[in-house]
Symmetry: C3
Subunit: 352 residues, 3 copies
């Protein structure tokens, strides 16, 4: 039943979004329609990925989940890169990271914590996640400081950005090797395995076709959404930064949001934390550097230099998420604190 | 006997301070007298609060202790706000935070550690305290970075300051709910309960009257002290910053200092840590934001923007206090390190 | 056999280095010869120290090991101070710290982790090391922020530098008291004790004579090496910063590198971590402040103000090393991440 409603919504919103785009609806209306459509197609992409992952076996499945999990964000961002909107790309990367670490994780811990007094998860994974978060912050922070303090030429700036991007991607890929092959047993969480027990709705062949269809739909809807942003931003007097960091990031992560919160309320807090933190790690260690390589292919390298306020937002989010998740033990108040930090950053970005 | 000596000292010093103020003693003498008087009246306020807390039952009692504990600092600071001495207010907030985290905590761990090889306390509380300290740092840090990097207008600056102030106060109030109601059992430390076993010296009615008397005395003495600061600062060539961060902060926290050190030497290190860290959290999450709201009532909003050196001082204090207290295990060397950081900051502020 | 080869290499390289210096070989050749010679004489100094330490008993032995361990770096740096090359001194201090925390520790964990799935060591020591690392960062960070933000005069700058230097040295000496006398048992690691079981090769008298000889050889070779740096740097278009932070640091720490990696591969990861982190702590808490005092004796005080990029490099290294070593549990991926951060910093410094 719920399944049926979802697919009806998916098709209706996708069609409306297409019609709106080609018929030239009012830009604000187009923005609203395609934003809702993105939520549906991202959810569809998530379902298809999970189904393919089921047939692929746990190891390859985990990899597929990890890689396709942020596909929506990646595709939106590639369209922004193509249009040369580098500032908005970086703002949306920032927004995705802080959205996952503060909003998704915060809502999950808060909702889960209201239902269960204390929720526990595997400590070892939390330790590794926190080291990787520090790696991600270093990767974004070091170039900014060096380029800022030493007034690097554009060539040096681009060289350093590409070098750091490659190092981050290699670190991410070896993290997959580490966590899925060499040290799989150390990091596994019984809850998470339990989660994979459900039967998938589709056959193997159908799953693969649906994955392709979903990816194409995400690509189209993303372009239609990006197309409306200029007018929308101008009309409401919002900064590119705020739209990138809050509007696009929330829309693009809608699927993760609902999944993580639902898991938390089923007391599967380990899986919820993994989605929230894992997703932000993918953005920082994989999506961001891939976008830099992609921009080079488009002929105009985007550097990896984030602004001081973006770095501050990422830095404080990582810090408090790390502090909250470190002991493998969560409660409603920790979720509440994460949400408060998100609201502080929301006010600050809105005022810029 | 000790009790009697204390009250004699209290009355003599308070009277001397009043005479000094109205008879127009030499300013340096006035400063010295009222500084000593503050130490006595703050101690008196502490005793009265504890006694009222005893009758109010543990939950409400804890709240009263938490709220009145920094009443002296709050009242001094309100007088400074009224006089428009915003820089000195912020310096004294900075000084209170670092004074509690470095001087009070450092002396407690050092004194306790000389007597007992290792002292242990509840780990869970340390984890939460450390997350709250990070929240406090974020609340003070984010506005400074955004306002500094983006050259906010005064209106935006004030709006952001008020928003952050409200969020910090709400976070503090919910922390009380969390730690005293919903998760009281998780955070309780047997030592600390043991500490509440003593019989109070006064009846319920007397306690309430004494609490009111003590608060009034603190208010008067604070005004007399603040009144001397301008001349005193000028005469000794000290900066407002140094006087606020070191002189006022040490005077205003004298009661906590002696209480925490005495507890540490009785091997009640959990209670000592709670006083030191709890007090600095109250300053950052409650006193500082309340002062911003109060300044708005006086018609001239004080912003929440601390200077880079104040933020550095707060940041490094939080960092090292967090690192020292995290494992719920302390020794003399950890106390010594905190004191060394305090001395480094003291030199640095003195030279400004 | 291996012993014999080592001493042949030592004598040949030392002699070649001397000949090169006095006969005025080509500067690049002189640089290469004396760099190789430094590796040998530093290794010789290490062996002699260990042998003397054996006869001195564990406590005094530990102290000797700790103090002579970085003797090579200290002697090289004193020659640089004498020549007034303050920027290169600070770069080499930076390089030694990050080299130990990232390269030595990274290679050790990586090599050990390839052989053993998980390696464990004493948690308590890791906690204390991490607090000391924060102390070291604070000691270098606070003066830089205050002097930078408040435009201190040269006199104030020097006063603050000397004050911080003294505080760091006292902290380091009391750390030796703490870790070797008052809390020796808490911090001891069974693996490390096992390591001291080997019989020394030389008698007591021979050991002392060899220690003196080795120190003199290090002093000479260091001067010959420093003498070539100006020409070498210029010829290859390298910055003083890069040469100091990467070339000199790697050469000066060669002995630690090989020792730590060999221990890690014997599954004595606790001893390997202790060498890497202990050595970087000595540099920050002892060698750096001693150099400031030494510069004052030479008549021209070197301040303790590191550049923003040096502080960034030290800060991020401490952060990730702390995160990796905190749980007393290591693997190949953690070593890999440290190496990646080293490479990022290497690129960044090279481009300056």
């Amino acid at each position: 039943m719920r399944q049926k409603l979802f697919f009806t919504g998916l098709i209706v919103m996708f069609a409306l979004s297409a019609i709106g785009h080609f018929a030239g609806f009012d830009m604000t209306l187009q923005f609203i329609i395609s934003a809702i459509a993105i939520v549906f197609v991202a959810g569809f992409l998530g379902k298809a990925t999970e189904s393919v992952a089921h047939y692929a076996g746990q190891r390859l499945g985990g990899f597929l989940n990890a890689t396709f999990g942020n596909a929506a964000e990646l595709i939106i961002a590639i369209f922004l890169v193509k249009e040369g909107l580098f500032d908005m790309v970086k703002a949306s990367i920032t927004g995705s990271i802080i959205g996952n670490l503060l909003l998704v994780l915060g809502l999950s811990l808060f909702a889960g914590g209201l239902k269960y007094k204390q929720q526990k998860f595997n400590n070892q994974l939390a330790e590794h996640n926190s080291t990787l978060m520090i790696m991600a912050v270093i990767g974004l922070f070091v170039p900014a400081v060096f380029v800022g303090a030493e007034h690097f030429s554009l060539a040096k700036d681009h060289f350093l950005s590409l070098a750091v991007a490659c190092i981050l991607i290699v670190s991410y890929l070896l993290w997959l090797v580490f966590s899925m092959i060499t040290h799989k047993d150390v990091l596994s969480d019984t809850e998470m395995n339990a989660d994979h027990g459900e039967e998938p709705a589709w056959s193997k062949g159908t799953s693969i076709i649906l994955l392709i269809v979903a990816t194409v739909m995400v690509a189209f809807t993303s372009e239609w959404l990006v197309h409306t942003l200029d007018t929308f931003t101008e009309r409401f007097g919002l900064s590119q930064l705020f739209v990138g960091a809050f509007v696009i990031a929330i829309v693009g992560n809608a699927a993760e949001h609902s999944a993580a919160i639902m898991l938390a309320m089923k007391n599967k807090i380990g899986a919820a934390v993994e989605i929230a933190i894992g997703s932000s790690l993918q953005i920082a260690l994989f999506v961001a550097p891939v976008l830099i390589l992609v921009s080079t292919l488009f002929g105009d390298t985007m550097d990896i230099i984030f602004t001081p306020i973006e770095l501050t937002a990422i830095g404080v989010s990582v810090f408090i998420a790390k502090s909250v998740s470190r002991d493998g033990n969560t409660n409603w108040y920790e979720g509440f604190l994460l949400l408060m930090v998100y609201i502080i950053l929301g006010f600050a970005f809105y005022l810029v």
